[in-house]
Symmetry: C2
Subunit: 314 residues, 2 copies
């Protein structure tokens, strides 16, 4: 047998364009437009979105309005709202905002961790413990999720040891993370590696391993999503229009495109709850809002195959 998973287990998609996408784009999108974008995503069936990042506004002015965007997102029925949080101070802001979940990046590459967060991976693990204590003391139900970034390789140090990824998954959970995910931050992953590493991490984390984050930098984005799905992953990050490029590969595409992910799963008969036509329409509006920025993805151009047309909501 080739496929190890039942064909019809539902998959959920976390739209991360408002965070991972916008942070890589120099211009700042007005808050009102972010709200329009979120409302349209929700109407297209998106039920989880990462809407910003609680980092100092001088570092990422594009995301300085995160608290305001969270406040709006909380008004959308059934939407799980998450924010990125790099440290304890950001975690406090996330708790104050009322977000449903906070995403803490933990880089498996020592070089990337130091360059990006100015902390070693183990210092980040210690911070996760402090964030868990803060959350517990606050009485908040805000979920703590750790995303293991550069899990499949790193543009700075090259290879990332799989045993180190497994160790950090365990350490993050021990420190108080309630959920972990694996991220191919720079588009280095291949399908066999994805299958192998998710299997190893499932053995440690069980169903607390609950997210795959892939970039399509070298065209393997959807093949990697498929391999992760075969390994049992049922929740994926994606960006409408495939925004969120890697600064080390100018012009290369970024995150897997939400609409392509929706098409992949629709084509396999796997429900996602996403409305394909609404996503494509919104992609067109996004192209206008980000006029001049490269958008990516494939299926928007050719449209659905005849065999899938009319199946508006997958």
């Amino acid at each position: 047998m080739v496929t190890s998973a039942p064909a019809h287990a539902a998959v959920s998609v976390r739209e991360v364009g408002l965070r991972d996408g916008l942070q890589s784009i120099a211009r700042t999108m007005p808050t009102a437009r972010k709200i329009e974008w979120l409302r349209a995503l929700h109407a297209a069936g998106v039920r989880e979105a990462e809407v910003g990042s609680f980092v100092p506004a001088r570092l990422l002015p594009q995301l300085a309005d995160t608290a305001e965007v969270v406040a709006f997102a909380r008004t959308l029925p059934g939407l799980v709202t998450s924010v990125l949080v790099p440290n304890l101070r950001g975690a406090q802001a996330a708790l104050d905002s009322g977000a449903d979940a906070m995403l803490l990046p933990l880089s498996a590459s020592h070089a990337h961790s130091v360059a990006n967060l100015r902390k070693t991976p183990d210092e980040v693990v210690a911070e996760i413990g402090r964030i868990r204590a803060l959350r517990d003391a606050s009485g908040s139900k805000c979920l703590i999720e750790v995303g293991i970034s550069t899990a499949f390789g790193c543009t700075l140090q090259g290879l990332v040891d799989e045993a180190e990824v497994v160790r950090l998954v365990r350490a993050a959970l021990d420190a108080g993370a309630e959920r972990v995910g694996l991220a191919d931050t720079v588009g280095y992953a291949d399908p066999l590696q994805v299958a192998r590493l998710f299997e190893r991490c499932f053995a440690v984390a069980g169903d607390r391993l609950a997210c795959g984050h892939f970039h399509d930098t070298r065209g393997l984005g959807l093949a990697n999503v498929y391999a992760a799905w075969q390994a049992g992953v049922r929740r994926f990050d994606a960006c409408l229009g495939g925004i969120g490029g890697c600064p080390h590969a100018p012009g290369a595409s970024g995150n897997v495109a939400t609409e392509d992910l929706a098409y992949l799963f629709a084509s396999m008969g796997v429900p996602t709850g996403l409305d394909f036509d609404a996503l494509i329409a919104l992609r067109g509006r996004l192209a206008g809002w980000l006029d001049g920025e490269p958008l990516h993805g494939h299926v928007w151009r050719a449209g659905l195959p005849k065999t899938l047309r009319g199946q508006a909501r997958a």
Copy 2:
């Protein structure tokens, strides 16, 4: 287990750009340039190429020099040269040319078969029998391969019944084909369908099922290649630069790009014998030769990951 195949079984790639690519491009490439292209492909490690089609020159003037191109291809050491052949007359030309193999398209879609070849699938099967008799009588060793086109769906009739594909695989072999392949002519396939249909056809054809031909029209090209590889396929068609678009999806990408396929397998540690850097350099020259035509593919833009650099020949 997710993967059913050993990681290091070698994969071979048939470059079909000179046929499938050029037939979709209006301009005619001079024979001398085709020869230059073939020589560079051979230097990049390509050991099988489909170099033209024996159809009337008034239908495809771009390929009218096929006999000449075959004559040159035969001088390249170790290169298996194949040509597309639509009927008995074309088969005679293929035998006269000295090509190593002829590829006979057999459409699993009745509507596509009639529109494209003006024959029903069963009439094509009968022609395969006549071609086998002609080949046997000629004393030639030219291999007869049948490509089941529209095996995963059709822009004209939509769904293609999997049982019909299996039936035609069996019928083609019974009629005298020595090898068969499955082609996603219009980019409708999804990975689960690919796994399922190849498994069903392997049950009928065994190792005579020996080619996967995928288009990247909707971004699933490499995911489908990976699924076919998991199912046991070890030989794939591809076009340098992803040329060979579908007339029903203007602007949409065509065949999976040879360089992306080389990267997929290199990233998984599967040998292909292809020289990645030479392919990328040739892609640049091809872009010049086809100035104005859209080229596709991904990895040419970002380049190899740091983890693979220096592994010139995969």
